[in-house]
Symmetry: C2
Subunit: 222 residues, 2 copies
């Protein structure tokens, strides 16, 4: 019984790792499509999102099934319920990649506005935060999780910079840029939201391991 | 034992209802602050968000504790895990109200742009969707839940209309409006995201009751 449970828990690890990899890949492909003004690439991310949705449901079912069949005690139960939360966060991250690709589709028909400011940099941060957050969960690595929570403010700053530049240097100077600047502004917000989801995952990991609430109490980490 | 479990389940109902009421109130107050250019009102929503955060954690703990102590079977287990998900959605809805209030604070220093287009209407839809979604959960009312899922496209349309009007009739005509139009545009997006969260709740309710996946398969509902 115990051995079966451990084997099934390993399967859960694997599926969550896969979910994380798919979400990260979706972010990467979205920004590639943006850089290359690649309509097909953007459409592909939108079209394959259902794979991630299906995996989310499968993971959810596995978690409920694990709880129902093995009635795990405190530590394992908390690992599984945390897995359910992380699963939901990852599905949302993938949805935000779809949102970005919809913005890309809006942009590809219009003349190029200009280089993408700090959007590619913000995307790199987002991808790393997602990858690290899943790592911190699987390895129960609280130190890594804390690093992620602290790095979220970096993403906020970068997003603000992108937004200010688009509003002040483009839209406020030349009204004809509005319809191209707005999608870029939204992409920077989608990326920053992805970082928020990675931060939620990291906070859940810290809570799972330390049974200590850091969520909404960032200052405690400093 | 059975009786204790039922009593504790009732407490869970109550707490989730309270969480829903707080989230709905936060949306209402945000839009009031926007309408009245009320800095203090906006700040109040931001400052009291921690009450909602604390309630979220308390509900989460209650759910895990209920599972660990009573090891409920299929139906009850699914009700509790659905409650955990709904709890997370409500906390995010409240966060989006905080986001809206931050936009309000950005706006109150600047001259009024113009009436708020369809934003108050969108807010009414959002509040109703949140209220109905929690109702559908407590009453396990699948018909109500399906109505919510179907009404989400109405919110999408309204959001698109607000966005197009702000871009085409303001930003693209008069570049000096950009810094005031962008926060309004973002508020319309925050509201639409609130509707998405209410839709997630409704989809979770349908799945809980019918064990049928409607998430990501809207067409089945029509």
């Amino acid at each position: 019984m115990e051995r079966h449970f451990d084997a099934e828990l390993k399967e859960l690890h694997k599926e969550i790792l896969k979910m994380g990899a798919l979400a990260e890949e979706a972010i990467f492909k979205s920004i590639e499509a943006l850089k290359n003004r690649d309509k097909n690439g953007a459409q592909e991310v939108i079209d394959t999102d259902n794979r991630i949705d299906e995996l989310e449901l499968a993971i959810d079912e596995r978690c409920i099934d694990l709880i129902a069949r093995y009635q795990p005690m405190a530590g394992d139960l908390r690992f599984i319920t945390t897995g359910m939360k992380i699963n939901a966060e990852l599905e949302r991250i993938a949805d935000l990649a779809v949102d970005m690709c919809q913005r890309v589709l809006e942009l590809t028909d219009k003349p190029l506005l200009k280089p993408l400011i700090d959007i590619p940099k913000l995307s790199n941060i987002a991808q790393k935060m997602v990858r690290d957050s899943i790592d911190s969960f699987i390895k129960k690595d609280v130190d890594l999780a804390k690093t992620i929570v602290l790095s979220d403010s970096q993403a906020d700053e970068l997003r603000n910079r992108v937004q200010e530049e688009l509003v002040n240097d483009y839209m406020a100077r030349d009204s004809s840029t509005a319809s191209r600047a707005v999608p870029l502004l939204l992409i920077s917000r989608h990326l920053e939201r992805i970082c928020d989801h990675a931060t939620n995952i990291a906070e859940d990991v810290i809570y799972m391991v330390e049974a200590k609430v850091v969520r909404h109490h960032l200052e405690e980490l400093g």
